[in-house]
Point group: D2
Chain length 366, copies 4
Amino acid sequence: MAGNTFGHSFRITTWGESHGKALGVVVDGTPAGLALDEADIQKELDRRRPGQSGAATPRKEKDRVEILSGIFEGITTGTPISLIVYNKDANSSSYDKLRNKPRPGHADFTYMEKYGHRDHRGGGRSSGRETIGRVAAGAIAKKLLGAYGIGVVAHVIELGGIRAENIDPDIKTAIEKNPVRCADPSAATKMLEMIEKMRNCGESTGGIVEILTTGVPTGLGEPVFNKIDADIAAAMMGIGSIKGIEFGAGFKAARMRGSEMNDAFEVDNETIKPLTNNAGGVLGGLTTGMPIVCRCAVKPTPSISLPQHTADMVTKKEEIIEIKGRHDPTIPPRMVPVAEAMMAIVLADYMIQSGRINPDSILPEK
Amino acid sequence: MAGNTFGHSFRITTWGESHGKALGVVVDGTPAGLALDEADIQKELDRRRPGQSGAATPRKEKDRVEILSGIFEGITTGTPISLIVYNKDANSSSYDKLRNKPRPGHADFTYMEKYGHRDHRGGGRSSGRETIGRVAAGAIAKKLLGAYGIGVVAHVIELGGIRAENIDPDIKTAIEKNPVRCADPSAATKMLEMIEKMRNCGESTGGIVEILTTGVPTGLGEPVFNKIDADIAAAMMGIGSIKGIEFGAGFKAARMRGSEMNDAFEVDNETIKPLTNNAGGVLGGLTTGMPIVCRCAVKPTPSISLPQHTADMVTKKEEIIEIKGRHDPTIPPRMVPVAEAMMAIVLADYMIQSGRINPDSILPEK
Amino acid sequence: MAGNTFGHSFRITTWGESHGKALGVVVDGTPAGLALDEADIQKELDRRRPGQSGAATPRKEKDRVEILSGIFEGITTGTPISLIVYNKDANSSSYDKLRNKPRPGHADFTYMEKYGHRDHRGGGRSSGRETIGRVAAGAIAKKLLGAYGIGVVAHVIELGGIRAENIDPDIKTAIEKNPVRCADPSAATKMLEMIEKMRNCGESTGGIVEILTTGVPTGLGEPVFNKIDADIAAAMMGIGSIKGIEFGAGFKAARMRGSEMNDAFEVDNETIKPLTNNAGGVLGGLTTGMPIVCRCAVKPTPSISLPQHTADMVTKKEEIIEIKGRHDPTIPPRMVPVAEAMMAIVLADYMIQSGRINPDSILPEK
Amino acid sequence: MAGNTFGHSFRITTWGESHGKALGVVVDGTPAGLALDEADIQKELDRRRPGQSGAATPRKEKDRVEILSGIFEGITTGTPISLIVYNKDANSSSYDKLRNKPRPGHADFTYMEKYGHRDHRGGGRSSGRETIGRVAAGAIAKKLLGAYGIGVVAHVIELGGIRAENIDPDIKTAIEKNPVRCADPSAATKMLEMIEKMRNCGESTGGIVEILTTGVPTGLGEPVFNKIDADIAAAMMGIGSIKGIEFGAGFKAARMRGSEMNDAFEVDNETIKPLTNNAGGVLGGLTTGMPIVCRCAVKPTPSISLPQHTADMVTKKEEIIEIKGRHDPTIPPRMVPVAEAMMAIVLADYMIQSGRINPDSILPEK
């Protein structure tokens, strides 16, 4: 099956490998009339880039995006927007000795089982670099949603067992103040220490990313199979390294009583709305008008420098490998812009599908 | 959007309301050549039926399925299989006074916000009775998978805070021995007491259902957006009352180190396979050949008889309601056949899409 | 693949065989708020029924439709509408001797090649009775479009080589005055004579059906792959017995000069519109605001009572068969409601997809 | 809606405008293991290029394709193949004065009605240059099909009223011997004269392109809505300038008798097959094993230098325009590689969907 396209009325198709010529995305379904330039997209790609901080790999990726189509005189035309980022700085030789030896926790083994042939350099298509296309597309979705008063933000709420506790209510601003994208500055400091510790012992650790929305209208989603939380779950679980997702009270709901879990309704200025948000903004697959709240569990980076047991797929002999080189000891901080992008893509899709955003054009009618 | 269809090559479309004339499903994509009769499907519907035990509502639903198409001389023809269950025993009058007063935790409010008009009787389309279609379709998927050595089983691993600990390895048999479908008999006894307690105090509770597979081949799934775990997540989150899903180590992975989380590879009789299964059977969206393992958090039944705050959507006045009548104090035991059905549907779809099951016909070639 | 579903935002799934228990359709995506009852649908099914006239088979089909879901208090709820027609009056024994001998011009041979097993009774799934589901779904689409001022009409413009020449401008009324559904009364008389002649000599003949729309807005469709004429072509070619389709000038365009073919634009009351309609209402896959005009070539009924050469698929021996019994000597008159239905379904889909009809609800906002 | 993607298991997404930076396509679903390089694709793009002959525009397009992803060590990897062609030699100034004046027969008017904003330069997205992506993707489909013994060829059978009569049976070779791609050399000469005549008088003309297949197995397609002829019709009607399509006897079938139209079955070396091919290789939406035969009506090039009536969309005043510059006086010869590409794409999709080509990998199993 062709599994590189996501979405219906707002639809993205990503392509490209880690050490290939380029990576990119085709974004189909943006209505005509949205002002858009490369800076709008570059801004998000820069957030995705590994920084100089302790949280991320020192690899210097430039990742300059180029818009190839779909914009005329600074405004979207309704036709597909093709975005490309050429690869640079790729030294593939270090991967040669791992060519036939699947790295534990990576997709090397399953790709070989499925395809019998793969681009092993830097993980090929299964590399985190594939998310460049998602983040670029998400930048468009975010700008479109912004014009309708809808916002999306993600933040790291747990890393290496350290939990954010005093979360700054202005999450958007707070997360840009530290490289771990945690809105609790004191937890952020501890997380950075944890990362440094992991790096020093050749280890890695995971964490939890929370995604929140503002301004989402009521009644978005479909009530049976395309429940909006089901589609968001597919979007998030489609990101590498995510092993679980929960909405609102989530797994805690399993231990709650009905009277605790149910969000009562109140009347506020002639409008009915839930008083609390254990539902995480979704009831019966449709938005309640409260913020959508979901959390994703991110596994530890599979690339570690400690020795690991694997096997050679050609010789069928067991082997021990050590993965050298620059690797993030943790993924959640870099997951933030990716998770925001996927949430924005799902919401843009539903806003268009439901006619709340005109699918053809958002220009004022003459 | 039309959101009542699920799947690609094996595709189901469910329809029907709780107190309407009938409910049903059209199953499209079953290859020709599968022996199938109503008993195959009734068996699963009977598992879905509320029993006489403490775990479920005493409502006597008969839920007799009828096959209307797609079978000839006891064998599937490759054409759509239409399944119908007529509704009986539906007294809608008790719902009249709740018509404009959304029940907390239910989809009443969001349906009204989306559609402005709804069949409020018994929850209408948002009722758990909608899962009749899923379970019926799942019975076909299960039988098809069985012919290829693939099995699916679900069980309750937690209910009302009580955790199954000594799980009988023969889960399939064990869960049919108690009405909570828990494979730990002693935990099952405690769960039943908990349910009784909830019922007596007009409350409800949630739990966790685990779904497991056997015999799934390697390399099933698509590596970017149709990761098999992403599609399973969408399938499970598309069931009402599920608030979270995790695979393998799941949310615990967030606190693990890379060396703990990564499943090493070993060589076993010339075959390479993972030694452990923290991945839950999926790496990079593709199956590893190990069992797929996922767990779903089920919220407490939203219908409780304790008084709850809501508001009248017509008068815009706050109101207090008490939901009387027969209601399960907990959902997980009845979730078991539904979760099995959805897992089977996803797997059947991928087995067909990937050509592992011939999409046209499984009859031996002449 | 699962090929029994058509459409995106307005989506139909048909099921059922000619001599099975029942046939039906699930219509997904009708917005809430449309008044709808069985009479709305029965009306179209009655038009589809073979009449007593010379044009059609004397088989007495009752074809009573029943609505099973999706309507509450006479109004659609936005949930799937399941429609069922139980089969009666089916004597399958006459088909027994043809079980392994594919009828020329029918799908018997190709079904057996694909599936290796089929319900041969009355053509099974490949019977014209499958269109019951399409016509029933089309009745809903028509009623929905009618609320937005859009109309669809089809008529027979050629049959057995006889061409309609003086077409009554009130086609809708004119076609109900004769059993061949031709809007030229004098041609209709000749067509009926031709049909009688065909019946008498055990032969059959084909014809051409034209489909026209009124009130379609400009800009409907997608400009590259989902050109509205491409989707209409797929809809029409998906009806059995249709061997060709053309829009506007159609095949004649191949012999026209650019200056003849191009429709000039004029300004009429501040509105720009084409002066002529060689384009058939579509330019670049998008509607021009002029009527959509297309014509479908219908092959002669494949069931004829003259002897025909075939082969037994089991014995691999050549055989001669004669197809006895009641068969229409021509299909175009009965194609009229089916073609109208498919056109209405495509238009409803695009009206909803483009947000011109609110996908959720057409009820006035409170 | 997002309408720039075509296909299911073999799926293409095209992007780009005539005078934008580049055009391209993402091809998703090619199994791993196909040897493929740029020359395979360039070969087809060169066939699409306007030549120096009388049949086509003298514009010197280079159209060098570059493969950006999906190939490793000369072999496909199963991941998306991104193809790009940078635009050169584009002088947009000549289009400035037509910016608000829709050209008759072009999509200018309908794009403006739909989007309210468009890239008018060279027709923007509605330009014939968009077919670069289709032809490039088709080259991959063709190579894949070739490995399974399936071939596709198209040829011009009518142009400006001149009909090919003595068609060289080796069509593939014959069409490369003249710039009109007609397999009847003497008709080709007359067609060239007709084109010259059209050019001299500022006019244009249309024609008919026939597409043929070899080696297609029986039973390909789906029997209800995804009839293979319905999907081919959508594919062909999705190409600009095509106004009609017919299969086998096509519109002539409307005048045939059943006994003439029906293809009898014979037994040939233990295999049952049709004796004739009036069906055009398709019965009931499924392939018969005979060649698929279809014909497309191509309208005259809408760009002509004769004066034409239009209207200014801003001033709402009627205007007369003359379209100067280099324009093909006829399209059918250039349609040949595009029609071949679309046919190959549909067939590749069905071969993969049906499991006849392994969706994951065509490498021999180890």
